[in-house]
Amino acid sequence: MTLKNEKRNMIFAGLVIGVIASLLVLFGNPKNMGFCVACFLRDTAGALGLHSAEAVQYIRPEIIGLVFGSFFMALAKKEFSPRGGSAPVTRFVLGMFVMIGSLMFLGCPFRMILRLAGGDLNALLGLAGFACGILVGVFFLNKGYSLKRSYALTKAEGGVFPVLTLAVLALLLAAPAFIHFTEAGAGPGAMHAPILISLIAGLAVGALAQRARLCMVGGIRDLVLFKETKLILGFAAILVGALVCNLILSGTTGTSYFHLGFADQPVAHTDGLWNFLGMMLTGFACVLLGGCPLRQLILSGEGSSDSAVTIFGLLAGAAFCHNFGLASSAKGPTANGKAAVIIGLVAALVIAGVNTFKKENAK
């Protein structure tokens, strides 16, 4: 496949994913949140009882679909390749801080694009911070940063995460009493598309993202490192797809899916500095991990236990965010959240430095 074909496929995948994300809002997801890997993992953590924020508890089928979309596509294309063993504890910690940064901003990089497509200009500050974080990460990459290589693992090891994901789907469908669901009208956790639609949307996006290697972080990283535009075309195509679909829905349904401005945006706050710093932490930590939260889900479906560990870190981070009052709300960031983002930036710098300037990397 030539680079031109790869770019064409990337644009196609991005447009379709953008449209799917926009349609999920029509079917019931919160506005500008057709997809948000951070928010959806946070909701899932709440449903599993890892935190007790009653407004954000629901097992999001989109997450399950993303993993299985990638898993099935990888199996079909003979790309299912269980690997792992590359600094798992460091990845867990970085995953936690990615979540803390994302919940300061109120969205992962994927939702950042969808917020822009819904007219939320606060996301521009997030985008600026995200790009700065990636630039800091690229600096360390160029200086020799490495979490060391991964190694081939057994098929059984690669299958553990998909099986766990299947178990979570079973809990969603069975809905036993110990699983928590936000009550109707009590918060974003209660706003969701029907399970089957969410699941199919997740499967489709997971399969497309696996084929296209879509990554929100990789787009800016590759542009800076290699002057290569392919991945960032996917980023742009999602924005265009979701924006056009939002405008069409606004014009045809009588409900507004596009509201340009800073104030009164859905599930968002207007503190520009902390929107910037939250996404800076997310961008920086994601470069150190080698991919955005969406990409981590896709890689876990391909058999990467390193990415599975990162997702456990994201889940733990989500639990900490709500148990320790770190997550922002529409009212703005919290003092605890600001402290956690600063700690996260320092921790990411230390992790980057330690894994860059050790003797063997300096050779």
């Binding site: 290589r149 290697r213 080698g290």
Partner: protein
Amino acid sequence: MTYIATFFSHFGAIRYKKLCDAQGFAARTMPVPRSLSSSCGTCVRCEGGFVEPSGVCAEEVDRIAEVTEDGYVFVYHSEEHAHGT
């Protein structure tokens, strides 16, 4: 002839490129072509030849493929691939 080397880490690619530069092969780092791997990592494109991986470098190189009109022909595999894993 053109060769593309893929790696287990970005750092491995940077180190291999320096090795190619030192041995006089024109080499540049770039994103791994999708048709070669589902990894979104960094590869090294070498013109005219490639450095046979050995020592520490061999631990980092996954595969090396010659670019032909019909696609990629692998000329080097890491031990993992040699054992079919």
